[in-house]
């Protein structure tokens, strides 16, 4: 057998034996944290759009507090955030290691990011359309949910892809502190034991995952547009 064949064979072995478990873990972390951060971030975004300076019902103090909170959370380096909120994570899930525990910092890191980009997408909606909705008596909540969300939907779908891809990266980073998933695998074998094959395999799967998410996002964007 030639060298290349041997290499490929070894890679294949790794793909079958070591990869599937961590891949599922990563998918699990990314899926759940995307979902949770979307819910949290979207609520935040809606409140900010409502109370912002050009909002439907400006409430300056509330907006300023939210605005600063979002900025502060976003400026935390993720690895620090994980460690800083360990007590909170323990309190929520009972432990601070493993993939379920990682979902907590992932969600907290992504929610403000979601809030910011969703706020931007909602504000992007033509102000004339909002004015029209007001002109026939739509309430603020109706305007946000039935006009702004509806009109911004294509942009929102692309944003969801961006968030999920960021979370793939973050979840890999969480591997450094025992977070589970593909990042954990890559660090354990590649960094600690110099087993480059395993690291390579993990990276290939991560790349495919990011690619897949982006394609999915683009696909839905085209359908909605």
């Amino acid at each position: 057998m030639s060298n290349i064949q041997a290499d490929l064979h070894a890679l294949y072995d790794i793909m079958v034996t070591r990869i599937p478990g961590p891949t599922l873990e990563t998918l699990y972390m990314v899926a759940v944290s995307t979902l949770l951060s979307l819910v949290l971030g979207m609520i935040l975004a809606m409140v900010m759009v409502l109370t912002g300076p050009k909002g439907l019902r400006p409430i300056a103090p509330l907006y300023v507090v939210l605005d600063i909170t979002v900025n502060v959370l976003r400026s935390f380096p993720f690895i620090i955030l994980i460690i800083a909120i360990i007590p909170f994570t323990r309190w929520v899930v009972g432990t601070s290691i493993g993939s379920t525990a990682t979902i907590v910092p992932l969600t907290i890191a992504a929610a403000p990011f979601v809030a910011r980009i969703m706020e931007a997408s909602l504000l992007e909606v033509d102000s004339g359309v909002v004015e029209a909705a007001k002109s026939f008596g739509a309430g603020n909540f109706q305007i946000i949910t039935q006009v702004m969300l509806k009109e911004a939907m294509p942009a929102i779908v692309l944003n969801v892809a961006v968030v999920a891809i960021n979370l793939v990266g973050y979840s890999a980073m969480a591997g450094a502190v025992g977070g589970g998933g593909l990042g954990d695998l890559a660090i354990m074998y590649g960094y600690n034991r110099y087993e480059m094959d395993t690291m390579l395999a993990a990276i290939i799967v991560l790349v495919l995952m990011v690619q897949g998410i982006q394609m999915l996002g683009n696909f839905f964007y085209r359908i909605l547009k």
């Binding site: 004339g128 359309v129 029209a132 909705a133 026939f136 008596g137 039935q146 009109e151």
Partner: protein, 325 residues
């Protein structure tokens, strides 16, 4: 129907409306005409509570608008339809859903909505477009959808903010005919603001001329044109060459280029403000050419013209006829 007395409106320390008094009666087509920035939109917004006012009284159907609570404002708006210069339709809904939307907001029963939408699309002459996407319609058709939507809740007053300014002359006429028709058939009171004299001449029975936030002339439209006031003469004579300050630039585009898109893009790209002074589509040999006149501050003149040149648009500066430079 509408009675405004001593209305003053400020944005910060910028006085936009000064001592406005006017009276719109049931069945009027009431025109408010004036240059860009005269305060027309602001005045219209005071009528349905989209804008607040501090001094004076605005009574619509007997109610003081300022005194209404949230619920009251919503009910007032239910009785006042509104149409817009840029149509303001929801791009992600089709024609039918756009017209149905106000009724959904008011939780009307499904079968009633269905009946009403079909009836309205018939009225504005678009029954076969009901499943078309809004983006595929022409400007005139979009405005027809806008009108159908504005009438959905059976309002008693229709507010029109530059409803024909984005349309070519022939389409303008057909939309005005539709409005006139609605006024006669449904007995709807219409308040219409515009900077186009032709619009006023064609359908308004009463007109006020708004000049820098002050009513410069008012009365029956015919009487105003028979013995025009100096303010009206000024407006008629130099519709587009009136330059308050800054420079007026005439942009020209072939019809297929979306002028709104260019204008909005330019505003965001350059981060400056300019106002649209006028515009029109003109027949030129076999084509229709459109132009739009914008007013830019003198200090912005250079960057705006650089931008136009880089984007390969045709333009020229417009001379003020009274003060040729």
């Amino acid at each position: 129907m509408i009675r405004i007395e001593g209305l003053n409106k400020r944005f910060g320390d910028h006085q936009v409306l000064t001592d406005i008094n006017l009276h719109v009666e049931q069945g009027d087509i009431f025109g408010i005409v004036g240059h860009s920035g005269a305060g027309k939109t602001t005045l219209l917004h005071c009528l349905n509570g989209l804008e607040s006012y501090e001094e004076g009284s605005v009574k619509v159907m007997g109610q003081e608008v300022r005194d209404l609570d949230d619920k009251g404002i919503k009910l007032l708006r239910r009785n006042m339809g509104m149409i817009f210069q840029h149509f303001s339709l929801m791009n992600r809904k089709n024609v039918w859903k756009n017209v149905a939307f106000p009724m959904e907001i008011w939780h009307m029963p499904k079968n009633q909505i269905r009946e009403r939408v079909d009836e309205l699309l018939e009225l504005v002459g678009l029954p076969e477009k009901s499943h078309e996407r809004v983006g595929n319609l022409s400007g005139g058709q979009k405005q027809r959808v806008g009108i159908a939507r504005a009438l959905a809740l059976n309002p008693r007053i229709l507010l029109c903010d530059e409803a024909t300014s984005a349309l070519d002359p022939r389409t303008t006429i057909s939309i005005l005919e539709l409005l006139d028709d609605i006024n006669k058939k449904l007995g709807l009171t219409i308040v219409l603001i515009t900077h186009q004299m032709e619009v006023i001449k064609m359908i308004c029975n009463k007109t006020v001329l708004l000049d820098q936030g002050v009513i410069a002339a008012s009365g029956e439209t015919e009487a105003q044109f028979l013995s025009p006031s100096p303010a009206l003469q000024r407006l008629v004579q130099d519709e587009y060459a009136f330059i308050p300050d800054g420079v007026n630039i005439r942009l020209k585009f072939p019809r297929h280029i979306a002028k709104d898109a260019i204008i909005t893009r330019m505003a965001t790209d350059l981060g400056i403000n300019f106002s649209i002074v006028g515009g029109r589509l003109e027949r030129y040999r076999d084509h229709v050419l459109g132009y739009l006149i914008i007013n830019v501050k003198s200090q912005d003149f250079q960057i705006v013209t650089d931008y136009l040149r880089n984007n390969e648009l045709f333009w020229e500066t417009v001379q003020d006829e009274q003060h040729p430079s």
